[in-house]
Amino acid sequence: MSVIIRLQHEAFDVAAETAALMRGRTDIGALVTFTGICRGAENGDPIVALHLEHFPDMAEAEIARHVDDAQARWPLLGVIVIHRYGRIVPGEDIMMVATASPHRQVAFAAAEFLMDFLKTRAPFWKRVESAGASSWVDAKAEDDAAAQRWDTRDDAAE
């Protein structure tokens, strides 16, 4: 399986990343990509930018653990996870996940699985910069609930 995990400040190009994953292969029948984009408002209030803080080594290790877990659950042929950090303005991409498989259900399930874990377990924190103010984004209970639906073992740290 082809796995790419990258943490970077720079913008990424979803098409170039997935093209590299697919190149020369004819065993992939389904490709799902998720792109998370910085919105121009949070809870109705306009924002100037998001600042993403992260814990570099742990983030990479934690993502790799969940990619391994996804591989153990489903017959995946390729996975890409790219997550940006630093200052990101509205309209810019924040992160992407791509999953490739022979069949669509596997690709969708793995992409949702990885997203649910990135939201709740990958050590990234969003701070909102708005006109004259700055505040940390609160974690959402619905994200924890979404991640818990994949739990089959009682090894969650939260």
Binding site: E53, F55, K119, A122, P123, W125, A139, A157, E158
Partner: protein
């Protein structure tokens, strides 16, 4: 022992990391948070509600009741909001 802080825990403590010699009687992550809360106003503020603070030992998520024996590095941070 190396301690690391992220997001608003870092902002409240006033630094991102530090080396600290811990008393021998600190058994768990929870014990460590209680002890840190007694180190001054900024720590008291950071750890005023330990229930909402997450911890990682050597870059693995751990529960608050996890023993810290053998840890090289312990990190404290709010619930994550990436993705």
């Amino acid at each position: 022992m190396k301690l690391r802080y992220f997001a608003w825990v870092r902002e409240r403590v006033g630094r991102g990391e530090e080396e600290i010699a811990l008393p021998a009687d600190i058994g768990t992550v929870n014990d460590l948070m209680s002890w840190l809360a007694g180190r001054g106003e900024e720590y008291a503020h950071a750890f005023e509600n330990p229930k909402i603070i997450r911890a990682a030992i050597d870059r693995n998520h751990v529960r608050p009741d996890t023993a810290i024996a053998g840890a090289q590095e312990i990190a404290f941070f709010p619930p994550m909001t990436g993705g």
